[in-house]
């Protein structure tokens, strides 16, 4: 077994704060959407708006951090081992095959994750932010550009929220696909991942 540092202190702070913020946004967001009553409409709106601000501030700090540390490179898609990674999740994982990619500080995401997370970073997050801000502040949708009301912004925002929930479901499940069930979560807590040494990698893999 070797201990590899995968996540820095900031990344772990970022991840868990973002998790809490996204949960808060989701719960309050769907209440505002009218799916259920939990905090009450007013409280949900206030919490949702506040969480949105937190989310945006966290996003700005994170973008800054990603750029100055060069860690943004983790999100650049690659074709290398993309197929292997796909095969691993669709068949290898059931046969006890080894992970086709190895994590490190400079390479913490596998090729599939890179695509998914980049999508999250450049599509879902900005779209949710922009449509959310429109929702909050663009009260005269005819001026200066006729946006035909808030329908477009709101529908996009709602659809983004559904995608976000779907992402969270799959994402949480995927944390169990590490070396052990808890390996990935532990890594996001301690920053270190325990991986089998290279030469033994086909042994004692969990199913």
């Amino acid at each position: 077994m070797e201990k590899i540092k995968v996540f820095s202190r900031f990344e772990r702070f970022w991840h868990w704060t973002q998790m809490a913020t996204v949960i808060l946004l989701t719960i309050t967001g769907f209440e505002i959407h009218g799916n259920y009553t939990l905090f009450g409409f007013e409280a949900s709106v206030r919490l949702h708006n506040a969480a949105a601000i937190t989310f945006i501030i966290l996003g700005i700090i994170t973008i800054f951090w990603l750029i100055v540390t060069g860690q943004y490179k983790n999100f650049i898609p690659t074709t290398e081992k993309f197929k292997e990674q796909l095969q691993y999740y669709t068949s290898g994982i059931f046969k006890g095959a080894a992970h086709p990619t190895k994590k490190s500080f400079g390479n913490k995401l596998n090729p599939l994750q890179r695509v998914i997370y980049l999508g999250l970073l450049i599509l879902i997050f900005p779209v949710q932010t922009i449509t959310g801000l429109l929702y909050m502040y663009y009260h005269y949708p005819q001026n200066p550009i006729d946006a035909n009301g808030l329908w477009f912004a709101v529908i996009t925002h709602t659809f983004g929220a559904f995608l976000m929930v779907a992402f969270v479901i799959v994402h949480v499940y995927m944390t169990t696909t590490g070396h052990r069930l808890s390996t990935n979560i532990k890594a996001m807590i301690s920053g270190y991942e325990e991986e089998p040494a290279e030469e033994h990698k086909t042994d004692n893999q969990p199913a």
């Binding site: 202190r9 900031f10 702070f13 505002i32 409409f41 937190t54 969990p206």
Partner: protein, 531 residues
């Protein structure tokens, strides 16, 4: 040692810091702004009154009220010019209609309504609320300043009353009754002052022939009401009078009633005192872009006495077997049927209707032909797309009234006469003569064939403002419930009410597919592991 440090760091960055961020988010997010309090001094408490009892000219014996007006004007000169230019005097004004319908001279005098239908030809009854003396027919002289009735607005003794059916004249020795005696002109004249609620209310509470018939948010109970009924006028509260909001300069009174007004000017605004950010809370204050203050702050109207919601003239004229006029009452002891007026539906504590309104209104004029049913007697202009429009609470008064079958025009009806036998509806219960006389008076053609058509009138609500504890709450509008206050106001996206079915169904499908995928995948892993 190193290991412990790492654990502490992890504890901090994974749990403590994120928890702090979320705590701060919830803490600051949940804060509701506290409205700033401000002190208001009623005008009546600030302005010093002249003691009119000291003026010799007001100690003379007044034979006619017109002589008293002349005495007033001998000191208050030029005030007659202001008044004689006003709509309170002329009952009409030059105004530009929306929809490019041009400039017209309209007002209470020559507009149709769906209560008593029209004022002209019914002068004896309707012009009782004119600020003049004896506008009994077309011979009334609008250029004679002594025809002005100063007292009806400035009497502070609450003893000056215009006689019923007197076209604006108070009682004389010949026709005085216990209810309407000859006014004590010296007493009244020596106790004049700024108009009180009672002065304005004398007419504005009783439009349509009784207390609260027309407006629904203006009625006698407001002379002495609790804060629940009207937070501004409550005796135990600020006890404001009409002029505190309807600011008046040189007899130009601000405020618009869109049953007779058309233009977005000279209005009285809540914002004049309260500013447009009165809640000191961003989310709530931003509603003011699209929602009038009145919408949340007047959750119900007709809080004390009922108001008429429906008036059906088509069934008027029924008598008992002896040919006598009849009156029937509803459970609240309000008349539900009158031979002379037809069928009524009253209601109290009414939830308003809600409409987009930009402060301009169109009117159904003499000569306009019916193109849609129900006929909109007045039309409040506005839409979500219009930047000047806000959601406004409205009383909608519906009814049925006579129209000319041939010309498709709504007709004037002569309902009032001093005595029977002259053809007026209230006396003789005959439509043919009543319409004939009404139309002749205003010089309009009548084919002789009438029928009844459904009509609607729209009255934006402004009064009976509730204390903050009783205002609408978010979920009263932001709800999918069909009982939501804005359930019927279409054409825009309202959070909490609206959603796109396609998006929601697709979204839930994606979530279910994700869940299924995860479940199937994990089952396959467990099965594979067992083998």
């Amino acid at each position: 040692m190193n290991n412990i440090l790492q654990k502490i760091t992890s504890f901090l960055v994974v749990l403590v810091l994120p928890a702090l961020v979320i705590f701060a988010t919830v803490h600051f997010g949940n804060k509701r702004g506290i409205p700033e309090k401000f002190e208001y001094q009623n005008r009546a408490d600030i302005e010093k009154k002249v003691d009119h009892a000291e003026f010799e000219i007001l100690q003379q014996e007044f034979k006619r009220p017109q002589d008293l007006t002349a005495a007033c004007l001998s000191c208050h000169n030029k005030r007659d010019d202001e008044l004689m230019a006003s709509a309170h005097w002329r009952w009409e004004r030059e105004t530009t209609l929306p929809n490019g319908r041009g400039t017209v001279t309209i007002g209470k005098k020559n507009l149709i309504n769906n209560f008593c239908a029209s004022a002209e030809s019914n002068n004896g009854s309707c012009m009782r609320c004119h600020i003049g003396y004896d506008w009994k027919d077309k011979t009334f002289d609008f250029e004679d300043p002594t025809n002005l009735d100063c007292l009806v607005c400035h009497d502070n003794t609450n003893t000056y009353k215009k006689r019923k059916g007197g076209a604006g004249m108070p009682a004389t020795a010949e026709n005085a009754t216990a209810e309407f005696p000859v006014p004590d002109y010296n007493y009244v004249a020596q106790n004049v002052g700024k108009p009180l609620k009672e002065n304005c209310g004398f007419c504005h509470f009783h439009g349509g022939g009784g207390n609260n018939v027309k407006h629904g948010d203006l009625e006698e109970a407001m002379l002495n009401c609790s804060r629940y009924v009207d937070v501004h006028m409550a005796k135990a509260g600020q006890d404001m009078s009409c002029n505190d909001c309807h600011l008046t300069e040189r007899h130009n009174i601000t405020g618009r009633a869109y049953s007779v007004s058309s233009e977005n000017n000279n209005r009285a605004y809540c914002e004049s005192c309260h500013t447009d950010t009165p809640h000191n809370d961003k989310v709530i204050d931003m509603h003011n872009h699209k929602v009038a203050c009145q919408t949340c702050h007047i959750p119900v109207y007709a809080k004390v006495n009922p108001t008429v919601m429906y008036w059906d003239w088509s069934v008027a004229g029924r008598t008992d077997e002896n040919g006598n006029k009849i009156t029937e009452y509803d459970a609240n002891h309000k008349y539900s049927y009158l031979s002379i007026k037809g069928k009524f539906v009253w209601d109290d504590n009414v939830k308003p209707d809600y409409m987009w309104f930009n402060g301009t209104a169109d009117h159904f004029l003499y000569g306009d032909t019916i193109s849609e049913i129900p006929v909109k007697i007045n039309t409040l202009m506005g839409s979500y797309e219009d930047r000047d429009s806000k959601i406004w609470p409205v009383k909608i008064h519906r009814g049925k009234q006579p129209f000319d079958v041939e010309t498709k025009e709504i007709v004037n009806v002569n309902v009032f006469a001093e005595k029977p036998g002259q053809g007026a509806f209230w006396e003789d219960l005959r439509w043919d003569t009543a319409i004939q006389i009404g139309m002749e008076y205003v010089g309009r053609y009548y084919s002789g064939q009438h029928d009844f058509v459904s009509t609607e009138m729209f009255w934006p609500l402004n009064h009976q403002v509730s204390p903050k504890e009783y205002t609408l709450q978010c979920a009263d509008c932001h709800t999918r419930s069909e009982d939501g206050r804005l359930a019927n106001l279409a054409g825009f996206y309202l959070p909490g009410r609206d959603y796109a079915k396609g998006v929601d169904y697709t979204g839930f499908a994606i979530i279910i597919i994700s869940l299924l995928g995860v479940i199937v995948h994990s089952i396959m892993r467990i099965v594979a592991r067992k083998h």
